[in-house]
Amino acid sequence: MRNVAIIGVGITKFGELWDKQLRDLFIDASLEAIKDAKVDLKDIQAIYIGNMSAGEWVEQEHIGPLMADYLGVRGIPSYRVESACASSGIAFKLAYEAVATGLYDLVLVGGVEKMTDVSTEESTHHLASAADREYEAFFGVTFPSLYALMARRHMYEYGTTREQLALVAVKNHRNGSLNPKAHFRNVINIDTVLNSPIVADPLRLFDCSPISDGASAIVIASEDIARKYSDTPIYIIGSGFATDTIALHDRSDITFLWATAEAAKKAYKMADIEPNDIDVAEVHDCFTIAEIMAYEALGFAERGEGGKLIEEGVTELDGKIPVNPSGGLKAKGHPVGATGTAQIVELTLQLRGEAGKRQVQGAEIGLAHNMGGSGSSAVVHILSRVRR
C-alpha cells in the first residue's frame, strides 16, 4: 500500500436547494474540487459516488455514468456506492484503497443526495429503508425512533440527561453559524432544543439533523502525484470499516456503537495513534445522542461518560478535542449520501488551516466518523497534515 493524499475539495451549500437538481449538485461540488486540486478533468481516472437513494427521492438510478457524462469524462469507470448515510464515507474508502493499491493514480470521490423534492413523510419512509424494512420499519419504526430507543436506554443505564443531549445541538449550531455552507446558521440555546416539538420521545426536533440537499467532492492522488499538484496535501493515514446487525433489536447492547468502535480500532491501528492524538473530529451526529455515543465508541470518553464530555466543554471549538467544527450533520445539514465526504472536506480545510472563523488552531490530525442506519455500517478515516 502506498501513501495517498487529498489534493482538492469541493462542497455545495447544504439546505433546501429548490433550484438545483441532483446532477447540478454533484457537478458543482466536483468542479470546485477539481479547481481546488489544480488538475484537469482528463486527469481523473475513475469516479466514486456515494448516494443512498436517488431512485426513491428523484427517480434516478444509474448515477455513475450520469455524473461521468455530465462531467464530460465519459469513458472512465464511475462507481456508485450505497451504504445508507455512510455511502460517501465508504465510497471514500474504496477510492482510497484503489489508489493505495496502485489501481489508479488520481480519482474523484464524492457524494450527493437530493431529498427535499418530496414531503417529510415520504423522506421519512425512504430513510427507514436503512433500517430493517421487514422487522422494524413495517411496524412503524422511523429513523428518529431508533435513535430515541438508544437515547432512552443510554439515559436509563448511565444517567445521561436531556440537557446533555441538548448541549450537542447547541454546540453544533454555534459551529454551524461560522460555516457559510451550513444548512442552519442560527445560534440556539438549551431552551430552543427543550421547547422544540417532539419527534420521537425523548428526541425533539432540535435533536435531529435536517433533511437536506447537497453534494461534496474530493480529489485524491498517490503521494508522488499529490506532491506535484499540491503544497498542502492531506494524507490519509487510517481507514476502517465495520458492520453490525441491520435491526437494532438484534444487538445485545444498544447503548454502544459497536461497529463504530471496531472501525475506529482498525483506523487507529493503521495510523498507529491513539484517540488522545486526535486534534479535530467530524462525527456522525444524525441525532444528538449519536454524537454522545460516538464519543464513547471512538475512545474520546469511557462508556457511559459521553454526556459528561459535552458538559465539560471538551468537544467545543476551543476544547481539547473539538468535534464537528463544521456544525456537524445537525447544523451543516445531512444530505445523506453527501455526508461522509463532506466531513472529509471539512477536515481537509481544518488541517490546511483554511477553515476561517471555525478554524481549530494548530490541528494536525483529524478523524472522520460516518455511519449508516442505526450504526449498522460505520467507517472511520484519519487524516494528517504531516506525512507518515
Partner: protein
C-alpha cells in the same frame, strides 16, 4: 406511490402472525425471523421456533413524526421487547397511555391490524404488544 408489499406480506406471514424465529442448536440463542446462519456463533444448525409471546420493554419511544402511510395515526409507541426466551422484537405497544410506559414493563403479544396497502386496500396484520394487567 405504491409499494409491492403484498408479496412480501405473504412471504413473511408466518413470522408476523406467530412471532416465529430461530433457535441455534449450538449456542441456544434465539432470534426473531428466519435465518440460515446463527448471527451469534455462525452455526448453521438452526431450528424454527415460535418465540415467547410475553416479555418486557427493553427500550421505548413515542413517535410523533410518522412515516408515509401513518400520517393520520397520531403519536404511537414503538418499543424493543425482550421476550422471555431472550429473543428481541421491535413493535408497537398498544392499549396503554404513553405516560404509563416504562422500561421493564411486562407485555404480551397481540395480533392486530398494522396498516393498509395504499390503493388496493389490502389490510395487513401482524404482532403488537400490550401491557399484561
Amino acid at each position: 406511490m405504491s409499494s409491492p408489499r403484498s408479496p412480501r406480506i405473504w412471504q413473511l406471514k408466518d413470522i408476523r402472525y406467530r412471532l416465529l424465529g430461530v433457535e441455534c442448536n449450538k449456542c441456544n440463542k434465539r432470534f426473531l425471523g428466519k435465518r440460515l446462519v446463527c448471527p451469534s456463533c455462525g452455526s448453521r444448525d438452526l431450528k424454527i421456533v415460535e418465540l415467547s409471546r410475553t416479555g418486557k420493554i427493553y427500550s421505548y419511544t413515542v413517535v410523533h413524526t410518522p412515516p408515509r402511510g401513518r400520517e393520520n395515526y397520531g403519536p404511537y409507541i414503538i418499543a424493543i421487547i425482550e421476550l422471555d426466551d431472550g429473543a428481541r422484537a421491535t413493535g408497537e405497544v398498544v392499549d396503554v397511555d404513553p405516560s404509563e410506559v416504562e422500561i421493564g414493563m411486562k407485555v404480551e403479544m397481540v395480533f392486530r391490524r398494522i396498516g393498509e396497502e395504499d390503493r388496493a386496500g389490502i389490510i395487513y396484520y401482524g404482532y403488537k404488544f400490550r401491557p399484561i394487567l
